[in-house]
């Protein structure tokens, strides 16, 4: 792998950058692999990378029906945090947040992890109770999260409106300083490049259309738009399309797929120093390094596989943004898009083996899985390699819905991203 550094950039500059090599090969499928990962989002690419880097597998294919990173990975608002309520979640997300810290160095790709702080606002007595419960639980779990008074919140985020005379005044907020953002494309490309360097075949425009099982029910391989590919280990990481792909193996998932939207403003000079989230009035905003305000909107009320949502969902979000940041009312929306999010009944993911030997699934990240990319990929690779879950993801089974062992972050906080 060609090393990236300021020095290599300088060197290449003298050759008009003619010496750069492809970041990953345009691979064509071999007849068989030791392991196949279906879905070229961050989670899938990361899985392929860790399978190769940490578990010694070399003969791995990653199949992506379109272009890598083009699913939710390339569509999300990139909020990273780990201040989840339940012990199981805190462990999972904090495992990931810790990995973000040196992901750029590990991959030799600047993923721009920016721990600028995530501030979650409270607007009612109930919100305060909920956030304080998080803060206590997080502290005991070793996850940073602190309470800010309205004035402290304003000091941390100057454009925030803390006037008492608005409809739902800010009553304070929970700040996770290690939370922040990262560059979504870089995550996909960085993993792809690093995986490719370890021999992983990254095969784009290759849609999985069927899953073959042997007489004993075990996985044999996958049918794809580029033909049949054999493998005894298949990991499905297809986000909004997980139910569709798993259905090919006869596995029903307890997921609902919804369109979730986001939008950006035109770029302006720095004005938002941190990430602000308000779950009760539905506002999620940060500012990209390019200067665009990046705003997360809600999901549509109805399930759907179309990557666009309703206008009024954006309107609702922008109304909330303008209340919290009244100076932004004259800012302009530049671009709006949607992704298909895979929502589980308890809003927690599934990272697990399945009843089908050789078939593994990583899904249910819904509206908030980007932050978990490194951790999820790392644990899923472990699960695939060992054919058993890592202790951190052991609670995140499919069976928990049947057994009632939910990890219900939604019920606990109604947090979206």
């Amino acid at each position: 792998m060609q090393r990236f550094s300021a020095w290599s950039l300088l060197k290449q500059a003298f050759g008009s950058h003619g010496g750069w090599q492809p970041q990953w090969r345009r691979a064509t499928p071999k007849p068989a692999y030791d392991a196949i990962v279906v879905g070229g989002g961050g989670h899938g690419l990361g899985t392929a990378y860790y399978l190769a880097a940490e578990h010694g597998l070399r003969n791995i294919a990653l199949l992506e029906k379109s272009w890598i990173g083009g699913g939710n990975t390339g569509r999300n608002t990139t909020i990273l945090r780990s201040n989840y309520l339940f012990d199981e979640s805190a462990r999972l997300y904090d495992h990931s947040l810790k990995m973000w810290r040196d992901l750029s160095q590990v991959l030799n790709y600047n993923v721009m992890y920016s721990p600028r702080g995530v501030l979650m606002l409270a607007h009612s007595v109930h919100d305060v109770q909920v956030l304080k419960r998080h803060i206590h639980a997080n502290r005991c779990n070793g996850v940073d999260n602190e309470w800010l008074s309205p004035a402290e919140a304003k000091a941390f985020c100057p454009p925030l409106n803390i006037e008492r005379n608005i409809r739902y005044p800010v009553m304070g907020g929970a700040l996770q300083r290690r939370g922040g953002t990262a560059r979504h494309d870089a995550v996909a490309w960085g993993y792809a490049r690093a995986a490719d360097a370890l021999g992983v075949d990254i095969i784009e425009n290759c849609e999985v259309t069927g899953i073959r099982r042997d007489a004993g029910g075990a996985i044999q391989g996958v049918e794809t738009s580029l033909g049949y590919i054999a493998s005894r280990k298949v990991g499905v990481v297809a986000a909004g399309n997980s139910s569709v792909v798993m259905g090919m193996a006869g596995v029903r998932l307890p997921l609902e797929s919804f369109p979730l939207q986001a939008l950006v403003s035109e770029p302006v000079k720095p004005v938002m120093p941190c990430v602000v989230m308000s779950n009760s009035i539905h506002a999620y905003v940060s500012q990209s390094d390019k200067g665009e305000l990046v705003i997360g909107a809600g999901t549509d009320a109805y399930t759907s596989y179309t990557q666009r949502g309703a206008l009024h969902v954006n309107m609702h979000t922008l109304a909330a943004i303008c209340e919290l940041f009244p100076a932004f009312r004259r800012m302009r929306m530049l671009r709006n898009w949607g992704g298909i999010v895979d929502v589980s009944p308890d809003r927690s993911p599934i990272i697990a083996k399945t009843a089908v030997p050789g078939l593994y699934v990583n899904c249910g990240w819904g509206t908030g899985g980007f932050k978990a990319t490194p951790g999820s990929a790392h644990l899923f690779a472990w699960t695939m390699a060992h054919d058993e879950p890592h202790p951190i993801n052991a609670p995140f089974t499919i069976e928990r819905f049947r057994e009632g062992l939910l990890i219900d972050e939604a019920a606990a906080a109604a947090v979206a991203h």
Binding site: A6, S8, M112, R330, R335, A412
Partner: protein, 1003 residues
Amino acid sequence: MSECRGKGGVLINRNLVVNFSFDGRSYSGFAGDTLASALLANGVHLLGRSFKYHRPRGLLAAGSEEPNALVTVVRGNEARSVPNLRATQVEIYAGLVAHSQNRWPSLGFDVGAVNDWLSPLFPAGFYYKTFMWPRFAWHRWYEPRIRAAAGLGRAPGGPDPDSYAQCYAHCDVLVVGAGAGGIAAALAAAGSGARVILCDENGALGGSLLDERANSQGGSDAAIWLRTALTQLAALPNLTLLPRTTAFGYFPHNMLGLCERITDHLATPAAGVPRERLWQVRAREVVLATGAIERPLVFPGNDRPGVMLASAARTYLHRYGVRVGSRVVVLAGCDAAYGVALDLHAGGIGIEAIADVRTGAHLVAPAAIAAARAEKIRVVERATVLGTSGRLRVNSVSLGVVAADGSVSNAGTLPCDALLMSGGFTPSVHLHSQSRGQLQWQADAGVFVPAAAAENERSVGAARGLEGLQQALEDGTQAGLTAAKACGLTPHAYSARIAVQEYSTRGAPGALAQPGARTPAKAFVDWQNDVTTRDLQLAMREGFYSIEHIKRYTTTGMATDQGKTSGLNALAIIAGSSARQVPEVGLTTFRMPYTPVSFGILAGYDRGDQFDPVRRTPMHACAENLGAVFEDVGMWKRAWYFPQRGEDMHQAVARECRAVRTGCGMFDASTLGKIEVVGPGAVEFMNRLYVNSWNGLAVGRSRYGVLLRDDGFVYDDGVVARLADERFHVTTTTGGAARVLGMMEDYRQTEWTDLKVWLTSTTEQWAVIAVQGPRAREVIAPLIEGCDLSAAALPHMAVARGTICGAPMLLFRVSFTGELGFEINVPADYGAAIWEAVRAAGQKYDIVPYGTEAMHVLRAEKGYIIVGQETDGTCTPDDVGLSWAIGKSKPDFVGKRSLSRPAMLASGRKQLVGLLTADPHVLLDEGAQVTATAGQVAPMKLIGHVTSSYRSEALGRSIALAMVVDGRARQGQTLYVPMPGGDLPVQVTAPVFYDPQGARLNG
């Protein structure tokens, strides 16, 4: 005003001089000018700096596709500033103040331009390759600098004082774009009786009809036709004309979003007029007459101020009488460029030469060349551009000539002060594509044109690749008639005709040929984001193959113009460099909005108090008069506590609690949700829905009901009364009212269609006054008639009808405080009067109004849960001690099956308990965690959390409720609440702290 302003200009009024300022300097223009035309008229060509390299930039275009000339307009103060406006769309008014952006210290001398010198270090995607060392440096060092350098204008400096409007509209035919095709379509459709809306993003309607050269009589055929057509349009009662209105988004089922700009072009907008308005239009049929956008040419130095689209120069001349230069070189990638050269020539502008850059012989129409030569204009055929010079404005262009074998030879340098280019026109298929209509590659024209539509929609004229005004007129007419017919109307014949000289707009996208294999450094594809051909090639060299990847890696097409001028050139260059055809490379998705739309119109009226409706109870004013402090609970304002002079919250709550326990308190309980469940199926419906059994509930009795989700967890609770055999009065939590009704309707309509049952929300029909305390009966007895209040006749949980002060009343004998209690329900309109009457009657018992905080304390003393506080969506009825409520013999209810799942029955579940701190003065934090042993360090083994914590006046100490793993078995144990200052020991108790026998209820 300089010599740049020539004759003519159909849009300006020379009698009205308008003074404005740009970067602190004063200029004057005419009414009708845009900021762009007015600055050009003053000889100002330098209007902006590019995003990355801070290169000096002038106007590229004359319309909404402009990528360079972005300005901030400040109206009065910083709160009214808007960044990133295209100067081409800003209409000037007296006193307009505009600033250039993204430069320091000045537009002419910008320190950021060192980036241009260092540009070899900053190719596409450079930031992914560096800034990685040391590990923390990205966030601490590099990112802040990159962020400061990036961004264009500044965000407004204060709360926006302006207002924004929103409206909905339905029409038969929505026509987008008021050029030749759109106007013809609107006239044809409206003439056939259709209700039509015609919108155009510009202030002046007419589109390219405004760009025709005037004939010897001083007008053009096109202008004359336009004048008549506009008069006709204005006279049509069934037509709504919306200038300055951009159709920005195409949504499913023919819903389009329009943004109407109402006041931005006015010097002094009338007070109270909204700045902009959002139209959400639902149209039966849509006609897209959005025209085409000229493509720039890609060659080294194509971004200097003075290098401009040819059609823009023509627009500036004909609409505003502005000359873009006096020595002009025209780069012709299509015939239309000749038309421009001839127009400028006729307008007295010196044309140095026309350099025809077409090498595909089939593209060249000899007639155009002949026409130019007839005017003695020099034409260089098979030309290319090797470079340009001029720092702040172009002053020369170096031409080359492409031989048949593709080799390029130098053809000398021409001085010029404007370099016009036309690479052909790209149909504006944005809205068609947004609607999910398909596109088709038209190889001979080098463009994508609309193919199959996904909605009732059609594109006309240039928007679908047709050439010429006359064709657009005919096409528009036809589309208007077809649309009218599709609406069930009889089309009324309509025809229009204009005689103009037409030139072909077909060109070939891509970069101009260069000598050797070398790719020039500064041949820009995307002006605003500084993306060059080299960047595109670098992306491909690095293995980025998908157009989506190349777009993201290079950021081409991602600037505020969303690639309007760059898209097709980028595609063609990518195709050419990767041996693919353009359609193989494919397009990136066209996303809304077409041009940026202010947050203000999308937020609209949802602002201030209207952000979310404020719900007030009928007794709200009474509480206000009593000095209540309110809290937000959902949309409701609820009285939180009633401080008397000098009291803080704690003192007020203590006093209120004392009154209820010793005498009498009154409480506004109107916000509780109320749903009437009525019909022959009502009992069965309730049986299936709630965990309780309702068969045995007598009329005139009530019962505490518990509702689960299908996953078996507590969803809501409330008292349910049986008012008649087939009529239940169901109460819900305040926050849960809407979702419970929604859930009920869901089951009624989709699962249990066999049941005859009707649901009605009655929350707002009733005002509810809870009167609680040992003296409660004495307080209300004198007011009530027609109902026996005695314990025998009206025991705990009984319900009766009667009157209170003559008003009809539904009286509940219920208690959420543990005291003798009544809840008086009266029709909402009587609420305030009855509240006052009860208060007056209670005076002699020292009745005290109490708020939600005291209510919380009182119920916590009794161990009554609050759904959403004790429960969090992971609690079964058993967890919170409510198993007794479950109707054991019922065959089914929502959530029943889930309750038998293994994990629901296993030990180790959290259960509701009471906690008493060792030190009675210590008040636990709500949300604090619980551990079994002291002295743990993170990550601790957490076994529970505090759900409620109060100072209990009745017990004279703090109390808390908590959910603790196997809590019921731990009673008497000491557990710990780890706090930053150390562990707090607590004793586990039963969750009922006060009157555990419940004797007081039955008083």
